[in-house]
Amino acid sequence: MEAETSQAAAPDMLKDIIIDIRELTFSRGERIIFDGVDIAIPRGKVTAIMGPSGSGKTTLLKLIGGQLAPDRGQVLLEGSNISRMGRNELFKARERMGMLFQSGALFTDMSVFDNVAFPLRVHSDLPDAMIRDIVLMKLQAVGLRGAIHLMPAELSGGMARRVALARAIALDPDIVMYDEPFAGQDPIAMGVLVNLIKRLNQALGHSSIIVSHDIQETLSIADYIYILADGRVAAHGTPAMLRDVDSAQVRQFVQGLPDGPVPFHYPAPDFMQDLLGGEIK
């Protein structure tokens, strides 16, 4: 049975949409990443984008942020087509977005404090004392107030990502995009981050988009989930809906099974044939 759960099944949540992706097609060279994908991101909710590696989750965030342009289709931010925006309009729209990059992407020539203060200094006229207080509050939220004077090179990967999270939410944006926020975090930090993302979403009312492989953590905070596979939306719905979906593809992904419709191996000739007679071409 096809895993698509109709959007009519969750009408309340999807009535108020902040980002509407319609018939999105995008390819890199010969490889089709998205083939007519429709995704609606509800306002003020946590939406998770999940799927196997290479299914285009991070690419989707770049398309939403206007860093990539679709081959066909539209990415609408409150009705405005992001790919049709002029350069200035696009940068204005991005001021309403915060993004947590997978690598953290901290500015290496600035301290932790200056990294978090950067968006505030660029986009606001707040006095230095107030910027300092906001930075302290954001760093306190991610548990790194004590690291305020460290340089990015002195942080572990997990710490760098938490500083990047503090920077992403510094301006209290309308939309926050998280690219693999839980990767590389220890169990304590992971638990804190899960709660933090949920709390931020509830307290500030912004719309969150999480791209993640961590199924249990994501299912525990997401209001709505899209599962991508083979360039299409394999399933979408609330966590409860997805747990009951009767689709081998979705079950394999949600339960982390090695065998199923999603292959673990990259396409290759027969293993035995390769071992016995093949040569590297």
């Binding site: 977005m97 990059f101 997978q102 690598s103 992407a105």
Partner: protein
Amino acid sequence: MIDRIQRLGHKTLSKVAAFGRSGLILMHALVARPQPLVMLPLLIKQIYFVGVLSLVIIVVSGLFIGMVLGLQGYTIMVDYGSEQAVGQMVALSLLRELAPVVTALLFAGRAGSALTAEIGLMKATEQLASLEMIGVDPLRRIIAPRFWAGFICLPLLSMIFAVVGIWGSSLVAVDWLGIYSGAYWSNMQQAVDFTDDVLNGVVKAVVFGFIVTWVAVYQGYDCIPTSEGISQATTRTVVYSSLAVLGADFILTALMFGDL
């Protein structure tokens, strides 16, 4: 055969596209509403990194090249009894050709490669993408101050190179080999014309500054964001900008002095 033509066509098209892209990048970086309060501190910081930190290599090279010119000039000209004209020969060589060209080549190796590597690394570590998502245009914030810094610094470094070179030559020719200093300096003063020699040399340095810095920032911004990609881009910066400088030097020399 068809394959070869196809490959050649593809390569030509991609070069033309890259040239167009580099022009667009420069245009977006430079054509914008001026923000002196934001840009000035960034520009000063880059002038320090690109210009001040290049001073040592420029001064030392200028000194030695001037000394070599003085020595070679003396040993050749002494046979004709015209060693008094060493100052004139050294000044004209440095002001017209050697100062702008050698400074540009050294600048490409010292500052151009550093600019490319820095911008490329910022791209590889997603710092440029992160700036974009914060709503800050990296072309304005990262590329523009670096471009202007190179453009401003290269003519200044070229002038310093020429001055140090002339001084180095006088050390050898006057202080060591014993040419009469009055003849050395007065010959130079008579032979050097401000517009034809000094100004033309500065114009060359301005053009070279534009070329070297444009190549450097474009190669960094457009590189493949991997360690291999950055390494190739850095090499390309030095090779392309050096060749472009030498080519442009011939064209400029022909325009400036071709009617003599």
